[in-house]
Chain length 192, copies 2
DNA sequence: AGTAAGTCAAACAGATGTGTTCGAGTTGTG
DNA sequence: CACAACTCGAACACATCTGTTTGACTTACT
């Protein structure tokens, strides 16, 4: 097991099921146990340990999984136009994925060395970061607040919206519109 | 122990230290153990159990503590003027307290019956809720998004700012200004 | 000063989680 | 078919957390 060489088909399939379950469980509950994840994957706990040597390794693999999914979706988007429109497209097409990724990363923060998480997160986050900085440079987004803060606001509003949806306090269909309207307004200086 | 009658001075003092430590620990880590809280309070674990029959009871007491602190501060504010100015005052004077209360409530959510938390939280939250609804009614805040969502946004931005400060990614002194500027802009329809 | 109230460390029981081993059963693949 | 790869439940050791008891110690209050 855990040999680089070709593994049996069902084994590869199980690894896939486990990673999917891990992402789902960890984005719902950062403290999800290994048993819980194994059960959600329809797999025995021992089988899981056959593929991942420790919970920590599993969490890291789940992070890489959700990040690569994110890369795939974000890579298919055209974010080169008007920053406002680009941000709108970004939010409407993948807010749920971004929120899920954010939740898994937060879960990872509790069981992985803190530097490791930011290291993994750095590259994919760059896309959003660049978009916001470009919007500032083009004078479309406000510059009286630092880009880091604007990124953080987007991050936390997305995460919050996901929590609200999970708690039944927000209709999933309303979320992208609400988020987009809120963020675009927040990124423009208020007319006091 | 746990007699309604007059208790010794040092006992009351210890209860106070324990509650303070519980609020501090739980707002930093929702899963803080009883030992951790006892140690932070400078008190033995057994002593803590002498005052609170269970972890659950301790968490509930910590929630009541932070909420009553919040009531005290919010009660001393004049929020009757221009909703924008009132919200500005509210954020600048007590964003940290609000964020801490929010974190403790989130911690409580993991160990208390879900209904109980919202029940405890309901009355103090009403103040902020009312302010936002008044702002909408007076035409100062946008009405194309529901008040519940605006409240939720404030909530999550506050929480996020507290996390950023704790992570060293945001200067504590900058936070109130950033939050206030962001929220006021978000509460106004963007000039697309 | 005397007494009750309070504190505390050590040790216990029980629950839960992680990680491992064993042995038997199952299934993909050559 | 045959064998290796894989799966899986049961049980283990180890750690951590909750909650309790015991017994000795200290301290507030009258």
């Amino acid at each position: 097991m855990s040999h680089s060489g070709a593994r049996r088909a069902d084994a590869r399939q199980n690894v896939d099921k486990i990673l999917g379950a891990a992402v789902a469980c960890l984005s719902r509950n950062a403290d999800a146990s290994v048993s819980e994840i194994a059960q959600a994957a329809g797999v025995g706990r021992v089988t899981l340990y056959g593929h991942f040597p420790s919970r920590e390794a599993l969490v890291e693999a789940a992070v890489m999984r959700v990040l690569s999914e994110g890369e795939k979706v974000l890579g298919g988007l055209d974010l080169t136009g008007d920053p406002r429109e680009a941000l709108n497209v970004l939010i409407r097409s993948s807010w749920l994925l971004l929120a899920q990724a954010s939740a898994v990363l937060e879960a990872a923060l509790a069981s992985l060395p803190p530097g490791r998480v930011q290291e993994l997160h750095a590259k994919p986050a760059q896309r959003v970061d660049d978009l916001i900085r470009r919007g500032q440079a083009e004078g479309v987004f406000r510059t009286d607040l630092p880009a880091d803060w604007l990124v953080s606001v987007l991050h936390h509003v997305l995460h919050g919206a996901a929590l609200d949806v999970a708690a039944g306090q927000l209709d999933r269909a309303d979320a992208p519109h609400f988020i987009s309207e809120t963020i675009l307004a927040a990124y423009t200086r208020s007319g006091t």
